[in-house]
Symmetry: C2
Subunit: 253 residues, 2 copies
């Protein structure tokens, strides 16, 4: 049953509250470092119960936006917001825009191919199943900075092949969400430094052996199904990645 179109489903109210509070913090209504109204007061103002508000606050705390102190109050985390954070910004487009540059796409092309064994494994498909492969060179202020190769199950666009064309010009995440109602819930990214080989160097217009950061990643939908497998080659000097490390709350063995 692949129906399930975008139907403006009612989200849990705590999610609404979380968004509202995030907006107030981002907009400065709740200044950095300041204390939030007490839970009973905030709950009444937002028109939800204290339990629902606490649900939202717990989420914000785990995101590092607020800090709760027993008996003292809940405080907005001190400024120091990570701008180009690998674990917050999804996709190359967001990363480029977060760096204050204009994101563009060149040399875009897509094709339907049989999945290799490793790709099928990542996407939990039968080897040889059709997968859509989208290759693009991403530009920042017109200069090539990233070569990306995105792979997704062919069945996703089987009924609407024209969607593949849209992926050549826009963020894949954007297309997945707007055209297919597919929201990426989380992804697991790995990276390591590499040198540009002949193929990559030519596409990016840099000398062979240039320093690159290779990132490969699998994104999962809300129900835990793999949706997108991608490979990216970033110019080392293009932008700087940061990661917010939480913990060490849970210590492994």
């Amino acid at each position: 049953m692949p129906g399930q179109h975008v139907e403006e489903r009612a989200r849990p109210r705590s999610v609404q509250v979380r968004k509202e509070l995030t907006h107030r913090i981002d907009s400065g209504t709740f200044a950095a470092g300041s204390r939030l109204p007490s839970e009973p007061a905030l709950a009444m103002e937002l028109g939800v119960s204290r339990a629902t508000l606490r649900e939202a606050l717990r989420a914000l705390e785990s995101e590092g936006l607020v800090r709760r102190m027993w008996g003292a109050g809940t405080f907005v985390a001190d400024g120091r917001r990570v701008t180009n954070s690998l674990d917050a910004n999804f996709g190359v487009t967001d990363a480029i825009r977060a760096a204050g540059m204009v994101a563009g796409i060149e040399q875009a092309r897509h094709s339907m191919e049989p999945a290799t064994v490793s790709e099928a494994g990542r996407l939990e498909l039968q080897p040889g199943s059709d997968v859509l492969v989208v290759e693009r060179v991403r530009t920042a202020d017109g200069k090539p900075v990233v070569l990306s190769r995105d792979i997704l199950p062919g069945r996703l666009i089987a009924k609407r092949p024209e969607i593949a064309d849209q992926m050549l010009m826009r963020s894949i995440y954007e297309v997945l969400e707007r055209e297919l109602g597919l929201v990426i819930h989380h992804g697991v990214a790995s990276f390591r430094p590499v040198r540009a080989d002949v193929t990559v160097a030519r596409r990016l217009g840099v000398p062979r052996g240039e320093l690159l950061l290779a990132i490969w990643q699998v994104d999962y939908s809300e129900d835990g199904a793999p949706v997108l497998s991608s490979y990216e080659y970033h110019l080392a000097d293009a932008f700087e990645f940061t990661v917010l490390r939480r913990g060490p709350g849970r210590r492994l063995s």
Copy 2:
């Protein structure tokens, strides 16, 4: 008032519950992909109210350990646990151990120096203040893999200079927590690929120009004060870093 020794303060019960559930998941009592007992049942078994249990579950959900589905139940996240995750494992020691290798330390030395302007800025100190600098070469199964340079405010160990020696042999996070009661709450790490210069290459025993991953990071204590600034040079082939990317829940502008 720097008293405040380790005094086994009573943690919120939800934290206890969270640890218990984490343990059960890690130990396999709750198998990957399986459904947890219902909230009322689990709450009764653990001897806490449903609200407290939900507080713990919310935390586990944000960590990606469980997935909650409205009306269906709460499920343990599918295996696929990130092993060497940059945003979960803190410190080189944990990273090496997570890769299944034996962590060691060589060429360790420490010194008290006046802080440079940039270092003082990162640690929010007066330029020229004394800082403790710890330089070490970390080994995995006896082979050098990381050159690290850790910088922390000198006042932290002013009254117990012998602590610096302990940092030469053990994880700095471990020493901070056990000897000073200082728990790192979060850190912000940045990284980029670099080539080994002469100095780094000699310390790590690799050719000049070898591929490295440079990671620099500032760690903060629970009250938001910067505690540790560190620089690390990782051999590109030593291990593979992964990051769990959440979202895109809150989209920035």
